[in-house]
Amino acid sequence: MREAVFRIRDLSKVYRTGNVEVKALRGVDADLFHGELTVMLGPSGSGKSTFLNILGGLDTATAGEVRYRDHDLSSASDRDLTRYRRDHVGFVFQFYNLIPSLTAKENVALVTEIARNAMPPEEALELVGLKERMGHFPAQLSGGEQQRVAIARAVAKRPEVMLCDEPTGALDSKTGILVLEALTATNRELGTTTAIITHNATIGSIADRVFHFSDGRITDVLENETRLSPSDVDW
């Protein structure tokens, strides 16, 4: 039996803005297993980001249960969620979200300073092949390079969970492959449970499992027999 890192039961999320209610998630059930790489697909507005944000402790559920190992994320306080993010989760975002006033190395150090079992920033940057550029500011790096710095930042603390929201969304295919390779390498070498949101269905083939979202629900889960290496994916 594989060990479930996340146990999600009947998860729903409602956004209220004024009189308008948006049901972003309506009863999601899922388990994510240790060391597994999953890809989330689905049309725009189907609730992928909402789901991932809740897994990452960035947002809280309206109803339902979300457990990370023995932590109950659905009832956790802001303080507990902060601890949880700090100790266990690495994030990668579509728009990189680097601090513009900090160099590549300093952006990574931002995390390694507060994490428990972090690797040196240089080592993390070496993993993504950017050790030579560590003194550069985000504005001096290309989009792909920035995204790799963001991955280095996520990887540096040796997280148990890596959550990536459209990490290749702003990149061309060649750069996208570099980024995905960095992610799969971490997944493989550190055994990081990884979830990747993407709009590119073919990327699904690098995953252990592919979740399909539609209208706030997971409508389909597809299990791959074999995982392709990112470089073998046909974009």
Partner: protein, 787 residues
């Protein structure tokens, strides 16, 4: 240094100009606070220590001639700790090589040489010793002004004879920290000597053997001051007592207190303005910074930084700015405080006076500024604190603009699209627009108040010196003389016109209200020393009845037509009821006037005069001075022409310093507010402006958007500033008004114009600096950044 601190440091570097602008505004607050509080404390603590160590009296009384035995009775009054009976006289001095006659205020020193009250600080030499008829100790200010040292000599007309005195000591007295000659309006150290001479010398010269004519008393800690004053008044009444006064009404002390009140008023008004404005500026730039860094804040939280840690990061930025302000302000404040203290030593005579730069003043100033900064940051920090990490990942929704006035202006094509853009942006943030305008208005107001104070003082100088006291000099007799003395004065060389006056101490009352003051009698149609009504027109004194100064009328609740109860404190001590015929304007002292003959008649004597006001022919000045110096009946000469000149000199000096300070303060505020607001507009609208450039607008046209916005804000600020200036000016003059001195607040239209011009120029310069940034706008970069 952690990565977050590196970010802090870089943010500061990027925002340096704005940070400095804010730090400077804050620094003004800190500096004025340290200046006011530090100087206040220096002055107050020095005064208290001086008074305590040198046994400054609590009560002062004068009489005509009191037998020595009465001193023991005063000592036995409940609550009296020590009594010093003494002889006090005023005498004309003739200093060789100094053509004007000087005046000496002479106080006796008892044979023991020990003063139980109002002890002397001996700077040099010693006190005069009994038996040495010609020895005198003089106050340090006079010694300094006349370059006198121990051994110097000068002549004095004592009693009826000219005597040469030898200086044996240079001293200071808590009784004469601030010393004014009789009839003088300005301290003039060269012309006024406080002198101490042996009691027996004075007693024999002034025929006061076995008697005294002045007494000063120190009270026990829990004494009832009013009761003691009443007891002393009762005791002295038969001996020509003119009413004891408490320390707070003693001239030197009252002037000192007035200065302290002024400092306190300044500490209450000026620093808060700066703290308020800096809090607002911090709010403005921090809110903007946080809006720009939403994603970064969200990211930090996503990475596992707690919300307190992230909030603290931004608060630290504010505190660093505040700290810069505190450091600059503390330096400038200390420097100004030292300068101010030095200035005080020119007016006030203390054995020691140093600017007290106690640590706690700095701690208070730092604490208050940090608190103001933090208060300004509160709202923005609250946003940081509350921003959920997930929401922060999304950029803020596009701003909602509204057509104002239903798009009417647009349709009327009154304004170009660019103007419409600018105006909409202002209307989009009405609160911020208004606050920015108010901030700028404070710059206008500070300048307005400073200049208003100037014109008020000018107005007062004009009213007092050119419309009221128009004489060149006043001769005061040592005691009242019959009317014939006036004829003698007219015969003195160089006298072109003369007007007698009679100054009688009275107790004036109305029901429960009463005061011991003087009534001054003047010829009905005075022309030299005039009496002006509330519109500053000359008054003809009626043959009966009293003209009351406005402040006296207020204090005694008397109006024209009312009857005042008047008791003359000299001679037969008659009590009479006198109708109040008129309320007149008086800016200095508590004044009451009557027709001179009516006054003498009312007091129960024939015509008599206390002194004469003179108009002098300048070419015969020397002859006049020489004659006066040889006339024993003249006790004191006040030279109004010299007062006038000195007053203007001193004012010009102080005022130019004050104007410089206020000009700086006002420019700092104007610059701080306008520059920051322009930078924030630029930051909010960089994209929009770049887009305009891309669309083919010229640099100048694009800058116009910014200029129009700033222009509108600065324009709104002007009337608000004028209003605040007028309000502040009224509050300040009202709170500084004392029985001794009142300045009406006068603000001239020119004042508004000049303060507005100063602020507009400061605004223009800050706008031009920001314009350079628009010109340098990197189109590609700006359009690439996501927002």
């Amino acid at each position: 240094m952690g990565a977050l601190d590196i970010k802090l440091f870089r943010d500061l570097k990027r925002l340096w100009a704005q940070a400095i602008a804010i730090a400077l505004v804050l620094a003004c607050g800190v500096a004025t606070l340290i200046l006011a509080v530090g100087t206040f404390r220096s002055l107050e603590e020095t005064r208290d220590a001086y008074y305590e160590r040198y046994k400054f009296g609590d009560i002062f009384a004068t009489a005509v001639r009191v037998p020595d035995a009465k001193a023991r009775e005063i000592a036995e009054i409940d609550g009296v700790a020590a009594v010093e009976p003494r002889i006090f006289e005023v005498a004309l001095l003739d200093v060789e090589g100094f053509r004007e006659p000087a005046t000496g205020l002479i106080v006796s020193v008892p044979p023991s040489g020990e003063l139980a009250v109002n002890d002397l600080f001996i700077r040099r030499g010693r006190l005069p010793e009994p038996g040495r008829v010609n020895e005198v100790a003089i106050d340090a200010k006079f010694a300094e002004a006349q370059r006198f040292s121990v051994g110097s000599r000068f002549d004095a007309i004592l009693g009826s004879a000219k005597t040469t005195l030898t200086v044996v000591g240079i001293v200071m007295s808590p009784e004469y920290v601030y010393s004014l000659g009789p009839g003088d309006m300005m301290p003039d150290s060269r012309r006024l000597a406080d002198m101490w001479m042996p009691e027996e010398t004075l007693a024999s010269l002034y025929d006061l053997d076995g008697a005294f004519n002045s007494v000063s008393v120190r009270l026990l800690r829990d004494a009832n001051e009013t009761a003691v004053i009443e007891a002393i008044d009762d005791l002295l009444e038969p001996y020509g007592g003119t009413g004891a006064v408490a320390r707070k009404d003693q001239v030197s002390n009252a002037f000192l207190q007035g200065e302290l009140d002024q400092l306190q008023g300044m500490a209450r008004i000026i620093p808060p303005i700066f703290l308020l404005v800096s809090a607002f500026l911090i709010n403005m730039i921090l809110s903007r910074l946080i809006e720009l860094e939403r994603e970064q804040i969200g990211l930090l939280k996503a990475l596992g930084y707690g919300r307190t840690a992230v909030a603290w990061h931004y608060l630290k930025l504010v505190l660093v700015i505040a700290a810069i302000g505190v450091v600059i302000g503390a330096g400038v404040g200390t420097w100004l405080g030292r300068g101010m203290t030095v200035m005080y030593t020119r007016f006030f005579s203390f054995p020691f006076l140093v600017f007290r730069s106690d640590v706690d003043i700095y701690l208070i100033a730092a604490g208050v500024s940090m608190a103001a900064a933090a208060a300004g940051a509160l709202k923005a920090i609250g946003v940081v604190f509350a921003l959920p990490p997930a929401v922060a990942m999304r950029p803020p929704a596009p701003q909602v603009y509204r057509q104002f006035m239903g798009g009417l202006l647009g349709r009327m094509r009154l304004f170009s699209q660019v103007t419409t853009m600018a105006l909409r942006h202002l209307v989009r943030h009405p609160v911020r627009t208004l606050l920015t305008a108010i901030g700028t208005a404070f710059a206008v107001a500070l300048m307005g108040v400073a200049m208003g104070t100037l014109s008020s003082v000018d107005f007062m100088i004009d009213a007092v010196f050119f419309r009221t006291e128009r004489q060149d000099a006043t001769l005061a007799f040592s005691s009242e003389r019959p009317g014939a003395a006036y004829q003698a004065v007219l015969k003195l060389p160089g006298v072109m016109a003369a007007e007698p006056y009679l100054d009688l101490p009275v107790e004036i009352g109305n029901g429960q209200y009463s005061r011991q003051l003087s009534i001054i009698g003047k010829p009905a149609r005075t022309d030299l020393s005039r009496v002006l009504d509330l519109d500053l027109d000359p008054v003809v004194l009626p043959s009966t009845g009293l003209a009351l100064g406005d402040r006296v009328a207020d204090i005694l609740r008397l109006r024209p037509g009312d009857l005042a109860r008047v008791t003359f404190l000299d001679g037969q001590r008659r009590t009479v009821e006198v109708p109040v015929t008129q309320v007149i304007q008086s800016y200095i002292g508590l004044m009451m006037f009557m027709d001179i003959d009516a006054l003498a008649r009312l007091s129960g004597t024939g015509p008599r005069i206390s002194g004469v006001h003179l108009l002098i022919d300048d070419s015969q000045l020397d002859a006049l001075y020489r004659a006066v110096k040889e006339t024993p009946q003249i006790a004191a000469v006040a030279l109004q022409s010299r007062s006038r000149q000195r007053f203007q000199e001193t004012m010009r000096e102080n005022m130019s310093m004050m104007l410089t300070v206020y000009l700086t303060l006002s420019i700092v505020i104007a610059f701080g507010v306008v520059y920051n607001s322009a930078r924030i507009q630029l930051s909010e609208r960089g994209r929009e402006l770049a887009t305009l450039r891309v669309l083919g607008f010229h640099r100048a046209e694009v800058s116009n958007v910014l200029f129009i916005e700033i222009g509108a804000i600065v324009a709104i600020a002007q009337p608000i500033g004028w209003l605040i200036a007028t309000g502040l000016g009224l509050v300040i003059t009202e709170s500084l008004a004392t029985d001794m001195f009142r300045v009406p607040f006068v603000i001239e239209p020119g004042t508004f114009a000049i303060s507005s011009i100063v602020v507009v120029i400061a605004a223009l310069i800050s706008a031009l600096i920001v314009r350079r940034r628009i010109d340098a706008l990197d189109l590609v970069r700006v359009l690439k950044t996501r927002e």
